[in-house]
């Protein structure tokens, strides 16, 4: 019989018949690989558990107390920061309201219209500049290069989306463990 079935018996830890046992014993006398496999298995099985230094639980309790204190501190800082943000927001809103009530309706209307006109004209200018640049680029860059660039961008987006999905999937699996 060749080496393979003996290795399988050892790796699978299958229960063997007395005949198979005899065959295995005979094989172990000649095969160093299977002998090493048996010895390592024995070594692993005979290895003892290592215990931590005495007082592990007390050290954990101390650590837990310290972490809890840190958490409480963080919570207090969080609450303080939230309070500050709220007070500041209320302050800004109050200033706006006061300004609004102090101004006449005509002034408010003019400010509002000016703001919108500026926004719309900025967008239109940007659009025009973009179109001009695109026309210039279309004349310079040949069509195959355009297609290559579009394909490359699509591939990059695909890689980005798939890596994001993989990352979020593996994190959720780890969180569940």
């Amino acid at each position: 019989m060749n080496h393979r079935p003996f290795e399988d018996w050892l790796l699978e830890n299958q229960p063997l018949t007395p005949e198979q046992n005899q065959e295995l014993k005979a094989h172990l006398k000649t095969c160093t690989t299977c002998k090493a496999l048996t010895e390592v298995d024995l070594l692993l099985r005979s290895s003892q558990m290592v215990a931590p230094r005495a007082g592990f639980t007390q050290r954990f309790q101390l650590r837990m107390a310290a972490e809890k204190q840190l958490l409480r501190k963080r919570q207090l800082w969080g609450i303080a920061l939230l309070g500050l943000i709220t007070v500041l927001s209320i302050g800004v809103l109050a200033v706006q309201l006061v300004t609004f009530w102090l101004n006449s309706p005509a002034e408010i209307f003019v400010t509002w219209v000016t703001w919108w006109v500026t926004l719309v004209s900025s967008i239109r200018t940007l659009g025009t500049v973009g179109l001009v640049l695109l026309r210039i680029a279309a004349g310079i860059i040949p069509l195959p290069l355009w297609l290559g660039m579009a394909g490359g961008s699509f591939l990059l987006v695909l890689v980005w989306v798939s890596s994001l999905w993989k990352l979020s999937y593996s994190t959720s699996i780890r969180r569940l463990a």
Binding site: F60, E67, R174
Partner: protein, 197 residues
């Protein structure tokens, strides 16, 4: 077992004393897994403490139908695998503890036996160190924690066939290394003898 469920439920309801009982019960298997994975007592202590702290923080998400020790060992294994991966990418590694050794306990009932035991432990650690971190976790869970292939698969987020193949591969690798080491030590121990032709 009933005690364990009661402690878990009490701990989930905010009892620190109940969680302390769980730490007391499972400190050895968790520490042993961390020690076998990281190979250093200080790092193992830190990883075991971190494991219990992670379990404490996520206890509300623990499903009571699952085995608690498997869940705990899963946290420990993932934590150690992450640590080993991070170590791989740092220039200075605390894994380089070649000079770390334990002195034999003179007060032990049989110092010779104790020295032999420590030698075997050291050999074991050297062998384990040669394995990839996930394979190492699978071997430790199998041999020290008596976990079934299904439990290992759950703990390491693998499939059962993957666990089987990893265990086979790891045992083959360990046997190869063991074979090389024993041959090497046999040659080293007989320097006065003429080589066999």
């Amino acid at each position: 077992m009933t005690d364990e469920i009661a402690w878990i439920e009490q701990a989930q309801n905010g009892s620190d004393e109940a969680f302390t009982q769980l730490v007391e019960t499972y400190q050895n298997p968790v520490y042993n897994l961390c020690y076998r994975m990281l190979g250093e007592p200080e790092a193992a202590e830190d990883a075991a403490q971190e494991t219990f702290f992670k379990a404490y923080r996520n206890l509300a998400r623990y499903d009571i139908k699952r085995s608690f020790p498997t869940w705990l060992l899963s946290i420990a294994a993932h934590h150690c695998i992450d640590r080993l991966r991070r170590r791989k990418y740092t220039a200075f590694s605390i894994d380089d503890d070649e000079n770390h050794f334990e002195l034999p306990d003179g007060n032990a009932p049989d110092p010779e036996k104790e020295t032999y035991r420590r030698e075997v432990q050291a050999q074991m650690q050297t062998l384990l160190k040669s394995l990839d971190s996930t394979d190492r976790a699978a071997v430790v869970l199998r041999y020290w924690n008596d976990c079934s292939e299904v439990e290992i698969a759950q703990a390491l987020s693998l499939t059962v066939p993957a666990v089987k193949s990893r265990l086979h591969r790891a045992r083959r690798a360990l046997a190869k290394l063991w074979e090389e080491e024993t041959t090497h030590s046999q040659v080293e121990r007989r320097p006065y003898e003429s080589p066999a032709f």
